[in-house]
Symmetry: C2
DNA sequence: TGGGCGAAGATTGTATAAAGTTTCGCCTGT
DNA sequence: ACAGGCGAAACTTTATACAATCTTCGCCCA
């Protein structure tokens, strides 16, 4: 009767103190409250969450593995600053993976999932309406994660979590206009295609959605150091 | 001869004590010297590498993130035991990603790379010839990693590292015959296609290679708990 | 006045010790 | 004899202390 110990394949982010730290920092980064390059001191974070450096360090290492934090030896952890080359890689990977993910999402469609998706669309519209850019950015990423969860593929889900987190940083760094408005409509169209069980349309919508996001970026080749300098001088 | 030359943006695996532990354990798992389900005690490993539990713990957490180690709360770390469902996900992901990777490898082809690939093929043939199953398994995985490195895409490389490590465990658990011989020829054909800069052929060879590997697996649906029990009873 | 040297301060890396949890053996009671 | 529970040992988890390294700021000298 030892059948109670494994209800889920992997649930690393529940009721853990380390996970609370990781999710708190992740949320701050994804909502653009922590900017790329920001130093994440261990004592600093530890004091905020009332935790010891041991736990903070564990959380930061996990974030480093996810690619949204860089750990420099003997210097500490910093919010990652993706280069234009990184950005192109991330979006190429998303263009490869996400159409397949929506395929599987269509296979897994159910009234409950449709409900969840439309509830999410409502949240996105509301955040957009009240001009809450932070919530918009976060919800936009969560939409894609939701579809990955729907697909039921834990591997794709893990990969996509990384890609979404990095995308958030990339968009913050390289977006041309400050108009995150166009995304919502695409999301709605994707949900419609899923509801209709139309794989081809779903794939196409997802692909064009990703293409539009990337098209709004300004990915110049020179080293990011110049960008950093420009930012500082501009501010 | 690829020991310590990597002054790139992120080089998490050089001259680090944690990295030595991680790579040592990884090699042991990938060469099937540590079997799925084996407990990895912190003291045990720490004593082997002359390191403190702090470092061992860090290494094990990284391996857990890569999916080849499971950490159960308050119980310790164990070599992962992928389920048949996991196996199907892993190979589906590989079928999706690796054809794209060889595409990029063809773009990046150069005499130096061709040399490196053929040297690797020679190593594989030699290991096969002398019946060194451990080296064969390791080299077979390294071939795919080599092509990912050749592609120059760090994201794909990171993803594929995970997939390869998991594949090694999967093959160990679910392979029908004990004949890893067929792989080498495929690898040679892939290299030939790359050398000819024939993307279509390279993609096709890679895909059929992956399909054959998966076809040799026996992925039955029942829960892995039964498999575990059967193994124990058999031994 | 500008640059280089050096010590103090701060921060990270590592080890060790304290605390909590699980596991397994043993003992008792029926 | 066997089921159930108590308790000690082993291990993981967390916290703290120590060592190593980097940064910063002041001082001295050209």
């Amino acid at each position: 009767m030892a059948a109670k110990s494994r209800p889920k394949s992997d649930a690393p982010d529940v009721s853990d103190r380390v996970s609370r730290i990781r999710e708190g920092v992740t949320a701050a980064i994804l909502e653009h409250r922590l900017l790329p390059g920001t130093k994440l001191g261990e004592d600093e974070i530890g004091e905020i969450y009332g935790a010891s450096r041991t736990l903070v360090r564990t959380a930061l290492q996990q974030l480093a593995h996810e690619g949204i934090v860089n750990i420099e030896k003997n210097r500490g952890a910093f919010v990652a600053r993706p280069t234009p080359a990184d950005a192109r890689e991330v979006f190429e990977a998303r263009r490869l993976i996400e159409p397949t993910i929506v395929d599987h999402a269509v296979d897994a469609v159910s009234p409950a999932w449709i409900n969840r998706l439309q509830q999410h669309l409502a949240e996105e519209r509301e955040a957009e309406l009240r001009g809450d850019a932070r919530a918009s950015v976060r919800l936009s990423g969560e939409f894609h994660r939701l579809i990955a969860e729907m697909s039921g593929h834990s591997i794709y889900l893990g990969f996509l979590k990384e890609l979404i987190a990095r995308s958030s940083l990339i968009i913050l760094l390289y977006r041309r206009h400050d108009t995150p408005a166009c995304g919502t409509d695409h999301h709605a169209e994707i949900v419609t295609a899923i509801r209709k069980r139309d794989k081809q349309a779903a794939r196409a919508q997802m692909l064009s959605h990703l293409n539009e996001i990337e098209a709004e970026l300004f990915l110049k080749d020179p080293a990011a150091d110049e960008l950093r300098l420009a930012d500082v001088l501009g501010a």
